[in-house]
């Protein structure tokens, strides 16, 4: 049950019930769509990037507590960041939820996602928004699927 408490921390439940930056950007300079066919989760990530800086970022879609909170926390962590900072945070989050690596960047709030580590079946939920972000930054047009990696 302690592992469950690590997974469903207050911050996660709060971001699930009241997702931040839950909107579509119009116009968006970057956009990608992500899908987890196993559970039906869908996410769209919308970005406004000027001079290599993420001026605005929002998301839309529907999903479980973990995928929704992860997307919400991601948008908070990345607003105002440079692209190279965003890539670094992506790498750190991925390492954190799949291995025992600690987070070192200033985006410390993302630490709450570390609880997912204990639930291998839920890692895809936590990473869906992040892989979709990566696709958006790379102008990938094909929707991201958790089942293609």
């Amino acid at each position: 049950m302690n592992e469950l408490r690590d997974l469903y921390q207050q911050v996660i439940l709060d971001h699930y019930k009241q997702p931040r930056n839950f909107y579509r950007l119009k116009p968006a300079t970057h956009h990608a769509k992500g899908h987890n066919p196993l559970c039906g989760d869908e996410v769209d990530i919308w970005l406004d990037i000027q001079d290599n800086i993420i001026r605005d970022i929002g998301f839309t879609g529907q999903g479980c507590a973990i995928s929704t909170a992860s997307a919400s926390l991601m948008t908070e962590a990345l607003r105002g960041k440079t692209l190279s900072e965003a890539h670094q945070i992506f790498d750190e989050v991925r390492a954190m939820v799949t291995t025992d690596t600690q987070l070192t960047s200033p985006a410390g709030k993302l630490m709450v996602l570390a609880g997912v580590r204990q639930f291998p079946a839920r890692v895809k939920c936590a990473m869906l928004a992040w892989h979709t972000l990566n696709a958006a930054l790379n102008h990938q047009t094909k929707p991201v699927s958790t089942e293609q990696t």
């Binding site: 049950m1 592992e3 469950l4 997974l7 469903y8 439940l13 019930k17 196993l38 559970c39 039906g40 989760d41 869908e42 529907q62 999903g63 479980c64 507590a65 973990i66 639930f119 079946a121 839920r122 939920c125």
Partner: protein, 420 residues
Amino acid sequence: MSSSMINTQPRLSHEFDVGSVRQDFPILNTSVHHQKLVYLDNAATTQKPQAVLDALTHYYQHDNANVHRGVHALSERATQAFEAARETVRHFIGARHAQEIIFVRSTTEAINLVAGSFARPRLKPDDEILITEMEHHSNIVPWQLVCQQTGACLKVAPMDDQGILQMHEFEKQIGPRTRLVALTHVSNALGSINPLQEIIHLAKSRGAVVLIDGAQAVAHLPVNVSQLNCDFYAFSGHKLYGPTGTGVLYGRAELLESMPPWQGGGDMIRSVTFEHTEYNDIPYKFEAGTPDIAGVIGLAAAIRYLENLGLGPIHAHEQTLLHYATERLSNLPGLRIIGQSPQKSSLISFVMDGVHPHDIGTILDGEGIAIRTGHHCAMPIMDHFKVPATARASFALYNTTEEIDALVSGLNHVTQWFGK
């Protein structure tokens, strides 16, 4: 079958002793996350009784050899056990001839065999295949492939919001071009039991061939293919308390004989030269390559186990569980049951306000309770009910009302986690 609700904790039938049945399934003593396992994912796969495990071990320890080949003693014994299993299956589903029983890998493979060997060579452009809205992907996609290959079109008979097939619509959809009707006996995502007698009579009176997907039926209801008068009936061994990797296709002998082989190889031939191959008789014509001999022998052990308990008492026990669970889950605030047909097999699909099924599944797992969450390989059903996924608790002969109480207690914890 009664659809009335039972209001108090019911007393289970005297002829069915679930306590002693549970002793037959060693895995039920397992702990998960330091909690006693409560296994409610039986529609995905069932656990195996000791009799099945013993049959597998005995075969590998004493009889293991390839079938239909050797003259030596072990090959004889393996062949005899394998063919005895065919007879066990024949009797179990009420087929007239053992040669109408083809061993395959799964229900999916059985349906693909019919798609590839029956439908694909016969269907012409504008011929029609009729399925229903409540099919598993494995009874949708093989027909879509056939339609792409032949120019035939796929028609879909709708269900209503209770999860009941709309018979008048179904009847309207069977036209002069309907060559094949393929539908499920019991819906894996809703539990609805389709009125097969009526459907098959209707389809056959209009000249269509009928395939029934029995994957979710054979473990829960007595099935007799001769009485049903269907042309094909497909099911899996592993949902029937047997080993994974085994499945059965029943096909009417005349149809099977008229169909070309599906796969080529050993066992399916009578003679081979480089110029010409003569095929074996049914069922061997459709059993190329070494089959899952141990699995089939294990499946026969599972069927004997079920027949010994009796499908009637099993059905009554499971209906008691279903009605008890339906009553208790209906009283949970914010919980909605998806699929409310009065004719239901023992499973409950549900959603909860403000909680994704995946999170329900993870929290229940923390309490040792195994349920299925997701789209259940039936995405069109999810679309009908406008949900991305559901949680599904499915009950088997070894489940108890106490386990349903544990489920309800777990769901109350879900509400506490996600409450305001």
